[in-house]
């Protein structure tokens, strides 16, 4: 029996698919850590990956995870750092095989075990579930999934920390998963290291809060932080956050010495409320965490202590994320310059809308924004800012429709305005906008017993 470590250090390496490629390398080289946690999956990501897999059965995972592993595997093997990552997308097995192949090429054979967590993918089981009365009603609209069944692109249950724990218990050094929750990737190493029980709700909630704190990468270490933002040092070298977790459920957030950014109570608080719903019930597959019980304390420079977290039993449901084909959209932009920049952009918008009407085109939505005047703050900005003297305004107009031809026709109506509309217009170098397919997100709940996580650990 291994003795229990005093603390476990879990470093965040990616806050989303496309996050800073340097971050994971710096996390494993900048100082001692025990785990590297990387979150790749946003709601739309699964549908993108499912499309890639449908074209090529060997794809469907975050492909840049492989060159990243090539860069850091020799380091993590040497230092005994373990990795948890949901980079497996809709094809975790192929992802794990690609990692194994990379490891063999690096002559790490015999030194590495790879865990694969599967069982989240429900696409092939949907009709069976619907037939057995699991309606997968949309959590926002209440509509049953049968309404859009023929347009479904992907369907995945959110798995929690426990299958990742199983992989770690099986000796995995790198755990590659499908749709495991962001927080589960951080909680699992704590459960594994400290032997937390499945009904230790306060501890599981504490680990979940730790996961939420670092799941968006540098958003808790000085990135995107409004407080005193101009004085946050050296964001060019921002240090990503690391959880230093204790067996009693308390933990500290810190970053490697010599890195930029800032870890403060204010910044951690901003991250805690990010994407927050009802703070007394942050629901995951593992527990319900109560964010109104969290205590924060600045323990020193760039170190915040988190304590007091309380939790409640998990529900008997899992969240399911379904992606379905919705329709088409396109967005066109033109830039109008002083004088009367705002008025010219408004005139161009009126002309464009009249032309769309004259063509008999109808859309589910037509949205105009004037970037530089009101795109982000709407009427609040118009009321607060004099609009007559703006140096330039970008007209940004978008349309949405189930009819691809209508969206396509709209895209031909932007460029003509350059020569046949209001004057002083530029900024059209991007050319005609392209109609885009909309794959929309359908959140639902499913009885936990319907989902059987599957874990494999293979030696390289």
């Amino acid at each position: 029996m291994k003795s229990q470590p005093a603390t476990v250090r879990i470093a965040a390496g990616q806050g989303f698919w496309g996050d800073w490629l340097e971050a994971p390398y710096r996390q494993v080289t900048g100082g001692p850590v025990d785990y590297l946690m990387m979150d790749y999956l946003a709601e739309v990501t699964m549908s993108i990956l499912q499309k890639q897999k449908s074209r090529d059965a060997s794809l469907g995972y975050a492909r840049d995870f492989i060159p990243l592993m090539e860069r850091i595997l020799p380091i993590v093997v040497e230092r005994g750092i373990k990795i948890t990552a949901n980079a497996g997308g809709v094809n975790p097995r192929a992802c794990a095989e690609a990692v194994a192949e990379t490891a063999r090429r690096l002559r790490l054979g015999g030194k590495l075990r790879i865990g694969v967590v599967m069982g989240d993918d429900l696409l092939g089981r949907l009709d069976g579930l619907l037939a057995r009365g699991h309606e997968l009603r949309n959590l926002d609209t209440g509509r049953p999934l049968s309404d859009v069944r023929d347009r479904v692109v992907s369907a995945n249950a959110y798995l929690g920390a426990w299958p990742v724990v199983d992989a770690l218990r099986g000796g995995a050094d790198v755990v590659v998963t499908g749709r495991v929750t962001d927080t589960g990737l951080t909680l699992a190493p704590m459960i594994h290291a400290f032997g937390w029980q499945p009904d230790a709700w306060d501890l599981l909630a504490a680990g979940t809060v730790a996961g939420h704190t670092i799941e968006c990468g540098a958003q808790s270490s000085g990135g995107n932080c409004l407080v005193d933002w101009e004085r946050i040092p050296d964001l060019a070298n921002v240090g990503y956050p690391i959880v230093d977790a204790a067996p009693d459920g308390t933990f500290e957030i810190f970053k490697h010495p010599g890195t930029g950014g800032r870890i403060s109570v204010a910044g951690v608080t901003e991250q805690l409320v990010y994407e927050m719903g009802n703070p007394t019930e942050y629901i995951t597959p593992d527990c319900i965490a109560d964010f109104t019980t969290i205590r924060l304390q600045q323990k020193g420079k760039d170190r915040v202590r988190v304590s007091g977290v309380q939790g409640r039993p998990a529900t008997d449901k899992l969240k399911v994320s379904v992606a379905y084909f919705y329709g088409y959209k396109a967005v066109g932009t033109l830039v109008y310059a002083w004088p009367d920049a705002y008025k010219k952009a408004q005139a161009a918008d009126r002309i464009l809308r009249q032309r769309l009407a004259d063509l008999g085109l109808t859309f589910e939505a037509v949205l105009t924004e004037f970037v530089g005047a009101d795109a982000t703050h709407g009427p609040l900005a118009r009321a607060a800012t004099p609009l007559d003297e703006l140096p330039e305004v970008q007209l940004r107009i978008g349309v949405r429709s189930p009819d691809k031809a209508a969206v396509e026709r709209f895209t031909w109506e932007i460029a003509p305005l350059i020569l046949n509309g209001p004057p002083s217009v530029t900024g059209f170098a991007g050319g005609r906008p392209k109609p885009e397919e909309i794959v929309a997100y359908w959140p639902a709940l499913l009885d936990k017993r319907m989902v059987e996580p599957c874990v494999e650990v293979v030696e390289v």
């Binding site: 409320v273 990010y274 019980t293 924060l296 959209k329 939505a365 982000t376 349309v399 997100y441 959140p443």
Partner: protein, 106 residues
Amino acid sequence: MKKVRLLDIAHARSGDKGDTANVGLIALKPEYYPILVKHVTAARVARHFKGMISGPVERFELPNLHALNFLLHGALDGGGTISLKTDAQGKVFSTALLRLELEISK
């Protein structure tokens, strides 16, 4: 009575959940939190965002963090990939809320 701009007593971060934007509003000093609780009501925030959101506003209190959490329903033109908005994920509703001016007793 004096006028106070929310920007001077609070900071904020926002995100999305479907067509709902959330704004976490945090007091810059603990002693400002009661001001937020008293003045920045769900009704006041709904009035502030009139014309920008189509649904109701919910408010939750986090006294431990000196923070309020607001859910602005129908704020994102359908949200996610459906939305045509620049701010489809509600990332800067936070600063739009900080424009709010309060009338507080001295």
